[in-house]
């Protein structure tokens, strides 16, 4: 990773990513006209991308996110991403999309092809955090794992317990997780609190617990490319 302490950051607008704050779902980080590249990301990646940008002083990279809850309605993602691209096209030299296929069955890629915009490779965030081939190796061997990222651990109650209605109908546990054996926490950061939370989450779901630190995985190179293109201008 590049950059160091005390680097001068360009003025930014709207950066409030406190945990359990809705801001995480609709983060926006703009360097007020200085940046030449924009990353359009899923809200579930917002905090990680913002942190990564800060760690590396990618000050010329703007970030805008779509609501993470689109996850559960993937059919809405292609249109939403397309709209964001069109709204920003004139303002940037290049635009990058930090979304997996995310269950759009190739329709997101069709939109991106029409717009001439690249996205990070892979079917979903679990795969690009872990690395495509490493992810395949885990799931080919045994597809009965349920993956948690830092984001999902932070918002486990909201996303999984409330999102799947397990708070209202705990009896649905087997309908959802009856086929699963383990939770695999693919961690982006090393954080003892999150680890404890992930382990408690596995217990809550009645599943075994496996920890793997994978970091930002392929997202790292993707953001570096985006930042480099901005600097080249």
């Amino acid at each position: 990773m590049s950059g160091g302490e005390g680097a001068v950051m360009a003025p930014t607008t709207q950066i409030d990513l406190s945990i359990d704050d809705d801001a995480e779902f609709k983060a926006e980080l703009k360097s007020d006209g200085a940046a030449r590249a924009l990353v359009i990301a899923c809200g579930a990646l917002a905090r990680e991308i913002v942190d990564f940008r800060a760690m590396n002083d990618f000050i010329h990279l703007d970030i805008t996110c779509l609501p993470a809850k689109l996850h559960n309605r993937p059919q809405l993602i292609p249109q939403a991403v397309g709209d964001k691209i069109r709204a920003n096209k004139g303002k940037y030299h290049s635009i990058y999309v930090a979304y997996g296929d995310c269950g759009t069955g190739g329709t997101l890629d069709k939109v991106l092809e029409e717009e001439g915009v690249d996205r990070i490779g892979g079917p979903h965030c679990y795969a690009f955090y872990t690395g495509q081939s490493a992810f395949e190796a885990i799931t080919d061997d045994d597809p009965t794992s349920f993956f948690l990222t830092d984001y999902m651990v932070r918002h486990f109650d909201r996303l999984i317990i409330e999102g799947l209605g397990l708070d209202r109908f705990p009896e649905l546990r087997d309908d959802y997780f009856g086929n699963y054996t383990n939770v695999i926490y693919i961690a982006q950061t090393r954080d003892a609190d999150l680890e404890a939370k992930a382990e408690a989450a596995a217990e809550r779901l009645g599943l075994g617990y496996i920890y793997r630190h994978v970091g930002f995985g392929e997202l790292e190179a993707f953001l570096e490319t985006a930042a480099a293109s901005s600097d080249k201008g």
């Binding site: 309605r73 993937p74 269950g103 759009t104 069955g105 080919d140 597809p143 397990l166 109908f169 309908d175």
Partner: protein, 236 residues
């Protein structure tokens, strides 16, 4: 019984069926089981209870799910309520010689363990008079071939919810071709990320967006099959 609870026994047949549609919508398992027993006591044929009360109720649930009014947890609650009613009816249906429309083998493909949609399809197909053999999740091609051979269904159904697993459907279709049995069966596919174009590309006969469409299409297909067989001078 509490004061605000409805006495199901006091309702006319029509009102009771209406109430069952509401109770299915609200996922009230015990109430559905009770109402099924009441209708049977009143001399309703099990098949009529199934279609008029349960299947019609789930059809309404399906419409509101499609339109984004109901969500997965609510649909699961409704499905579980219907399952309770089906458990009572299933043995009776067999005894009373309810119509058998056709046979289907269904399973989720290898690498994929999503099964909520598949289970709904199974239930609604059963409700429509199909015999359904559900081979579960994470099925390699061998499982499909073995189930086809054993059960000789009219329809093979495959489900996938992951973009990484949906191409596996083609593996199964190709294996059927290789064995020279592809055209003996109707291949239907489904799952949220699929579409018509994809279904055709993997060599399936039909793509269905939800359980209700699946039932309609399967019934249509069975009619066509019967007509074809009727017109065919060779023995079926």
């Amino acid at each position: 019984m509490s004061d605000d609870e409805i006495d199901l026994k006091a309702l006319s047949d029509d009102d009771l069926v209406g109430q069952m549609h509401d109770d299915l919508y609200d996922g009230l398992k015990d109430e559905i089981a009770e109402a099924v027993m009441i209708l049977l006591d009143r001399g309703w044929e099990p098949y009529k209870v199934l279609t008029v009360a349960l299947v019609e109720g789930m059809r309404i649930v399906g419409i509101d799910f499609r339109d984004g009014i109901l969500f997965v947890p609510e649909v699961l609650q409704s499905a579980n309520a219907m399952k309770g009613g089906m458990t009572i009816l299933r043995p009776l249906l067999a005894e009373t010689g309810a119509p058998r429309v056709g046979k289907m083998v269904i399973g989720t493909v290898k690498g994929d363990i999503h099964d909520i949609g598949k289970n709904l399809v199974t239930m609604m197909m059963e409700g429509a008079g199909f015999e359904v053999i559900d081979i579960g999740i994470n099925n390699p091609v061998e499982n499909y071939l073995a189930a086809i051979e054993e059960h000789q269904p009219d329809i093979l159904g495959m489900s996938a919810l992951l973009t990484t697993t949906m191409p596996y459907m083609k593996v199964v279709v190709e294996a059927m071709k290789e064995k020279g049995i592809r055209d003996d069966y109707v291949v239907m596919v489904g799952g949220a990320p699929l579409n018509e174009e994809f279904a055709m590309a993997v060599g399936a006969d039909a793509y269905c967006a939800d359980a209700a469409v699946t039932v309609d299409m399967a019934q249509e297909i069975m009619k066509r099959r019967h007509n074809q067989r009727g017109a065919d001078p060779r023995p079926a």
